[in-house]
Amino acid sequence: MCLPTYAAGSGPDVEVGVISSPRSAGAGVSFAPRGNSRSVLRLYADVLDMIGGKHKSPGVKADYHLMFSHSPIQVNDDTHLVLSIGPGVAMGYVSDTDFDHGFAAGVSCMASAALRFSRVPLTVSMDFSVTAGFRATQKSQFDQTLTLYKNGLRRCWIPELTIAYRF
């Protein structure tokens, strides 16, 4: 999600964007600038391994991050680069290295590099998020497992591209 820093009250309050990536497809909103922090809430389909055909149905995942960023770097007359990072939480009903879906939850961290354009009220950002948590699956009444959510760690290198509109 795009996360530019604005002085309180001077910048847009809300950004709404679409997320696309080999691991996720959905929407996100960032809001309420306070100092140099910004809240980012995302809801997306977990489509990891669907492009390759390993998984047939997507999971669903939501996360929240509180992002901190530095002052924007001017790339040219109409573009600024904003780098940001922040902690958060994530949860969802997702598949992992196996084929079953299960409930997963954990703590998360996201890093973002966003290009903010002044010609049009759009921001394009490339994000990387890592989730450390656990996943519970239930195949039957007597077959329940709680395991480390491996894809949250192993697939964090896959970038997520967000194109957001600034209101």
Binding site: S20, P22, I51, V75, N76, T79, F117, V120, L122, W157
Partner: protein, 205 residues
């Protein structure tokens, strides 16, 4: 690990030149970018013949309707022929229908809807090419649609595209009696004419 490193290097090779070109006019002669999106092949007319393990010859003609969504991830290079015509070559990874994922190689001709060309948003396009899949004959791909271009910066634009596609492919055939994939030596004809729609977006540098 090396695969991840290669992907990161590929991303860097796409983005770094774009950022370092900042300040130049976007309306140059050559561009490149990535396009991704989803497609739905809602109707397929299939025809197949094969020989069963018992020696019978089976012929099947069918019309399939599907709501399945496929993904497309493509890279492209484009060249402006004039202010209102440009050509683009695409390749990447795309799904034609259920169980058929190909590496396409297509050429797209885009025509701006006004004489100022790429400075303005609307363009229509036609596209044709082929798709390659391991163990299958080459598929034919044709697409047509409309692209709306948002110029983000002097070095970057966002294309929003919608259109229709028509493909002629050669899907794998499964013997419904033995529930196994028909081996190539027992397969006669396998063809499928598929039609559908697609939505995509692209970052153009």
């Amino acid at each position: 690990m090396m695969k991840r490193l290669h992907i990161m290097m590929l991303l860097a090779s796409v983005l770094v030149p774009a950022v370092t070109m900042a300040g130049k006019d976007f309306h140059g002669k050559f561009h490149y970018g990535v396009e991704w999106g989803v497609s739905n092949t809602f109707a397929s007319w299939t025809h197949c013949t094969f020989q069963t393990t018992e020696g019978y010859v089976v012929e099947n003609r069918d019309v399939e309707y599907s709501a399945l969504m496929n993904a497309n991830v493509l890279g492209f290079v484009s060249m402006d022929i004039s202010k209102w015509v440009w050509l683009s070559a695409y390749s990447g990874y795309t799904g034609l229908k259920k169980g058929e994922h190909v590496i396409p190689l297509t050429l797209r001709g885009s025509f701006a809807l006004n004489r100022t060309g790429t400075a303005n948003p609307g363009a229509v396009f036609i596209e044709g090419g082929c798709g390659f899949r391991k163990g299958a004959r080459v598929s034919a791909i044709a697409r047509a649609g409309y692209t709306y271009r948002v110029i983000l910066s002097s070095f970057m634009a966002l294309d929003l595209t919608a259109g229709a596609h028509l493909t002629f492919s050669h899907p794998d055939v499964y013997d419904k009696y033995s529930e196994r994939k028909v081996p190539p030596e027992a397969l006669g004809v396998s063809s499928s004419l598929n039609t559908g729609v697609f939505l995509s977006m692209a970052l153009v540098f």
